[in-house]
Symmetry: C2
DNA sequence: TCGTAGGTAAAACGAGCGTTTGAATGCTAC
DNA sequence: GTAGCATTCAAACGCTCGTTTTACCTACGA
């Protein structure tokens, strides 16, 4: 990370992601960020204009890819004839879990995401809704079709609970130490299984 | 709130809770807190010693009561002969939901709690574990007895997911507007039902 | 070769931060 | 009434914050 192979902008984004995850948006200063990125202090305002703009770009960099993967996985699942609830949940969970466990700071990003959820930042909620709302609409419709006995409000509640559980769980997976003798791949698959079974059973509850 | 009927310490705690919920621990300044509490700036350091100590007291004030209620509800549930999973979950959820919807800032506190979870603050985790760990141990044992087919690790995972879901959901209940024509009491009971059914089904999943 | 544009550098700006100080105040006990 | 103590107050402390300024470096097309 932060080696000279990466551009100034990329190094700032990487360092900001790490420090926002650890210290929060208000808690991490631009001096800490630029020092970690091995970059001059003024570079942030030169390349991003302001700290708030930097925060937005930290989100955009990961979410564009994450939501594209989710939509792609959903379309693949829907294309198969026997797709059930578990397949839809897998399409939602696996891309995020892949991100949370991959190299290059994805693990830090899901913790940033959990922070953002907890902060109830209106500007950020609007940003997420504007840019990625269509993805959630797509998933909601697919779930509704497979849960015909659930009325709209009930499904809304349950999906909200699922999303909350996922965000928290994923932020933790990057922190919880896996037992020795368990590869990261096994750890990830087991985590996804737990989440999917839990969520599916909860959604199917009478 | 913050009227002259309350002592300086109480007004500071109330204002701090509100502002920590809205702006975070780092984001809310003591000048904002003391202004909202209608109190002199130096009063925080006089009564609490430091900002960090103030944060701890904000937690202690609510958690002492919350965990006492939870333990009491659990003992009552266990005393009844036919107590099932739903009863245990109700003992865990109802006191927190009562707190999140009552007058006097409890709703703000659950949002503070969600923030604290998201922050992964080690000092705070130790504080919570030291002061309230015995409560979680009690619940864990009760769940383990009613889920004999679940091995220790599996139960650990599922309770962790449940706790995450609850924290998020409860932080949201204070924000989500209930539909007109639904009393707060109905809203609360319906919320608890959703959470309990969801969690019970998830815990029972094969 | 020079001029220009894009990027980096050090330094400083005003503002706000948590905390401390020392004097002014209110209250209780003698 | 006054001594003694707890509390409140305005002011200032040293420090860090996000941002801006100004100078400098480097590379490339005319």
């Amino acid at each position: 990370m932060n080696s000279q192979h990466f551009s100034t902008k990329e190094r700032i984004l990487g360092a900001a992601e790490q420090l926002f995850a650890r210290l929060g948006f208000a808690g991490a200063s631009l001096r800490q960020v630029t020092a970690a990125a091995n970059v001059n202090l003024a570079a942030v305002n030169y390349h991003f204009g302001s700290k708030e703009n930097l925060i937005n770009e930290v989100f955009r960099r990961r979410l564009d890819e994450l939501n594209a993967h989710r939509l792609q996985a959903l379309e693949q699942a829907l294309a198969r004839p026997g797709a059930d609830l578990e397949d839809l949940l897998a399409a939602f969970i696996h891309p995020a879990l892949d991100l949370s466990l991959d190299r290059g700071g994805g693990g830090a990003f899901v913790r940033v995401l959990a922070r953002a959820y907890a902060e109830h930042n209106d500007a950020l909620r609007k940003f997420l809704s504007d840019n990625y709302g269509h993805v959630m609409k797509r998933f909601h419709a697919a779930f509704a079709q497979r849960l015909p006995d659930l009325d709209k409000e009930e499904l809304y509640w349950r999906l909200d609970i699922v999303a909350g559980a996922l965000t928290y769980a994923m932020a933790d997976f990057g922190v919880i130490k896996r037992k020795s003798g368990v590869t990261e791949q096994q750890h990830r698959e087991r985590s996804a299984e737990h989440l999917i079974r839990f969520a599916a059973a909860g959604l199917r509850a009478p």
